[in-house]
């Protein structure tokens, strides 16, 4: 057992709490007004503090039982680099997790396990497995925990730096509380996977051992995310009182780190006593034991997690609600709300996000050859309803073998007296001949979100029958 690593971790938690108290105190007392580049630089500096503390304390504590410090720092940097270069882009740009993760509880949990969790766990695994695992320096089970923690802290630092850069800086106290929590939680996740790596390297473990470690780490990340969204759901601040930053997330992360550390210590003590009692094969220095099969199994599991994550993404984004109104059947995106008006067949609105609307209405007594008259009617109504209304283009098309007019339009939202900027709206009408009536299927959206909403509208059209 390496006392240094546990002392460093425990002291890091303690010093982090003291550091946070100091930062919050300074922020409340001095209320520094940092802007622009200053704010970003201070934020990045604060993002490095938790990892810096752990590394510094580890260095001080580990003097008597020397572990190459450069290797620990190197794994930290590799974790940071892999996280920033591959992990975060994969989660945020490729799978677009933040855009759909909070739509419902199952998406929150499954997205966190199979995408965010799996990616982070694999990056920690890759940082240790491919950069230090075969080194002779990796010669104790605790080494797995040390390097796993370092890689986890690197990933956490990438997350924190990205938060600062994406937000254009952050308030000092609130961001430090948040970033310290992130660092503690991800260090703990790294420690868990590191434990599995340490045993895989130095004991004869079955092929499923490392994949099990990866999966457990990913599940832990998912459960932690779920717990955090349940206990930290935002808050309302009123009046002019100065509020202290919420520490709920930090306390949760600290508790997680503490529990994980205690569990790992207990496991390692048990392993040692089993080995000493001869009930388990003694640790070996043979570096080839972490075999290729286990490595391929981890890679396979990672790919499988991403496939499952992709399916969850598809299910969440394309989940729909069915409708059957006056002979019109179909389905609209499940996160849209019903807002049908008396003279319409259906109107659904994306109340919580884009405010986009899909509308179905019917114009009676229109012969198929007279579809153009519907355009005039729509123009007449909208010219008065909208602050400004303009038809952008109209074209004749066929839709499911029926003649239709497709009309693109733009307008400024209906007049209102609120002192806010009027919203520009963009839309498209599908005017479909249906016997002696015309069916008007309309999409209205902000120009900014039009491209996001259009695929949903096309899917809505695909499902529509009448």
């Amino acid at each position: 057992m390496r006392r240094g690593v546990w002392l460093a971790s425990g002291l890091t938690l303690l010093l982090l709490i003291i550091f946070i108290a100091i930062v919050v105190g300074i922020d409340v007392a001095l209320q520094p007004r940092l802007t622009g580049l200053e704010l970003i630089l201070v934020g990045i500096l604060l993002a490095l503090v938790p990892a810096g503390l752990w590394l510094a304390l580890f260095y001080l504590q580990d003097r008597l039982e020397p572990e190459p410090k450069a290797e620990v720092v190197r794994i930290f940097i590799i974790g940071l680099a892999l996280g920033g270069a591959f992990g975060l882009p994969l989660v945020q740009q490729v799978f677009r997790l933040p855009e759909w993760q909070y739509r419902d509880l199952s998406a929150t949990v499954l997205g966190a396990i199979f995408i965010a969790g799996a990616v982070e766990a694999f990056i920690i695994y890759a940082a240790v497995r491919f950069f230090i695992y075969h080194s002779p320096q990796f010669n104790e089970r605790t080494d797995g925990v040390i390097y796993g923690t370092a890689a986890g802290l690197g990933y956490a630092t990438a997350l924190n730096v990205q938060l600062i850069l994406a937000s254009g800086g952050a308030a000092i106290a609130a961001s430090e509380v948040h970033m310290a929590g992130i660092a503690l939680a991800h260090a703990a996740f790294g420690g868990v996977l590191g434990y599995f790596l340490g045993r895989a390297k130095l004991e004869r473990e079955p092929v499923w051992w490392l994949p099990a470690g990866l999966l457990l780490t990913a599940v832990l990340i998912g459960l932690f995310t779920l717990l955090r969204t349940q206990v930290q759901q935002g808050r309302l601040l009123t009046g002019t009182i100065t509020y202290l930053p919420s520490v709920t997330g930090f306390l949760l992360a600290a508790a997680l780190a503490l529990v994980v550390a205690l569990v790992i210590i207990w496991l390692m003590r048990r392993d040692t006593s089993l080995a000493l009692g001869g009930r388990r094969a003694a640790p070996t220095l043979d570096a080839t034991i972490g075999d290729r099969a286990a490595n391929w199994a981890v890679i396979g599991l990672f790919v499988l997690c991403l496939v499952v994550g992709g399916l969850v993404w598809d299910r969440t984004v394309h989940r729909s609600s069915a409708f059957d109104v006056d002979g019109f059947r179909g389905s609209y995106p499940a996160h849209f709300s019903l807002a049908t008006r008396p003279d319409e067949i259906l109107r659904v609105v994306d109340v919580l996000d884009t405010q986009a609307q899909f509308v179905i209405s019917v114009v009676s007594d229109v012969q198929p050859t007279m579809l153009g008259s519907v355009i005039s009617q729509l123009t007449a109504v909208r010219a008065t309803e909208y602050e400004s209304y303009r038809v952008l283009d109209t074209q004749e098309r066929q839709w499911r073998g029926r003649p239709i007019l497709e009309q693109h339009f733009a307008g400024v939202e209906p007049p209102a007296l609120e002192p806010t900027l009027p919203r520009l709206l963009e839309g498209v009408d599908y005017i479909v001949a249906d016997g002696n009536r015309a069916v008007v299927i309309t999409m209205i959206a902000d120009p900014e979100t039009y491209d996001t909403v259009e695929p949903l509208f096309l899917r809505f059209l695909e499902t529509l029958t009448f």
Binding site: S175, G234, L236
Partner: protein
């Protein structure tokens, strides 16, 4: 032989009509059917005759009704163009002014200017530009004003002026609060009581069906404005585009979610600007509301039992922190 001749000529006539229609659609954006069946269309949809772009543009001069007309509005603030009013009762949520015209020449743009005579007679309260499609048919042009939040129009006198270019076309004034909402007659009250009792009985008979709260009209004097900012709790930075929703009194956030987020349960909704700020009118003091805030990439936030008390300021300041 004669029949075939007639059919051939009818076919040709139909072809010519179709060709004409295509030309007119292209040139003027209006189909021939409007010329032939315009009246019928106008009857099936009254709003259609307001300023429908008809093809014929033989109008030399637009004659309009003077003074301007004020139209009744429904409870939801929609105009009732069949009823002209002299004044509006207190609590009305929209006022609608307009005029009737004989025809509309090409390239006619009308500017409507509303004044609140209680605040400033010189400073326009609200202006709006309306581009009219040319037509040789008479119609009605209207423009209404209201708050998005359905806050009642304050009591007082209002004036509207309609201009074409710099020329004043027509103008008119109206009073809001000039008449009290009609008290129900004793017989109506009895009927209403009976209906309520029946409704209660129905509710008793069908206990498994949850009774949804009815909408109530806010009391104008009790209304306050919320001035808020939605921020990221981790960075304290604003969240542009975050949505702030006040639900109808009596609807909790959980109920709203259970019902499938229907728009009808929303009292008011607002989107934060680029600085994360929003202004929300129409919230009544001493009434319990449920609030919801949501933004992309953040966990949604809700709060039941939000009350603005008599001692709270107007506007009421509020910060909402959201977390990822």
């Amino acid at each position: 032989m004669a029949l075939r001749h007639v059919i051939r000529h009818l076919g040709m006539l139909a072809g010519v009509l179709a060709l004409l229609q295509a030309i007119i659609i292209t040139a003027a954006g209006a189909p021939l059917s409007d010329l032939l069946f315009g009246e019928a269309s106008a009857q099936t949809d009254p709003s259609w005759q307001l300023d429908a772009p008809l093809a014929k543009k033989s109008c030399a001069k637009m004659e309009v009704s003077d003074p301007a007309l004020w139209f009744d509005v429904t409870e939801d603030g929609d105009p009732d163009l069949d009823t002209v009013v002299d004044s509006y009762p207190s609590g009305v949520i929209a006022i609608v002014a307009g005029f009737q015209y004989n025809c509309v020449p090409a390239k006619t743009t009308v500017v409507a200017v509303f004044y609140s005579l209680n605040d400033s007679k010189d400073k326009p309260w609200y202006t709006s530009e309306i581009k009219l499609a040319p037509t040789d048919k008479p119609g009605t042009l209207w423009r209404g004003v209201r708050f998005k939040s359905q806050k009642p129009i304050p009591d007082g006198d209002y004036r509207v002026e309609f201009f074409v270019g710099k020329k004043l076309l027509t103008a008119g004034e109206v009073t809001v609060g000039g008449q009290e909402p009609e008290e129900p007659a004793p017989q109506e009250e009895a009927e209403q009581e009976q209906e309520e009792q029946e409704a209660e009985q129905e509710a008793e008979q069908e206990p498994e069906e949850e009774q949804r709260p009815q909408r109530r009209k806010p009391q104008r004097d009790n209304l306050v404005q919320i001035v808020g900012e939605i921020i990221d709790g981790s960075t304290q930075r604003p969240i542009p585009g975050a949505v702030f929703i006040v639900l109808q009194p009596g609807i909790t956030a959980a109920q709203w979610a259970d019902y499938g987020f229907p728009a009808s349960d929303i009292l008011t909704t607002n989107k934060a600007d680029r600085n994360g700020r929003f202004r929300q009118s129409g919230v009544e003091r001493n009434v319990e509301y449920s609030l919801v805030a949501w933004a992309l990439s953040y966990t949604g936030w809700y709060m039941d039992g939000f009350v603005v008390s008599d001692n709270d300021p107007d506007p009421y300041p509020m910060y909402i922190e959201l977390y990822r």
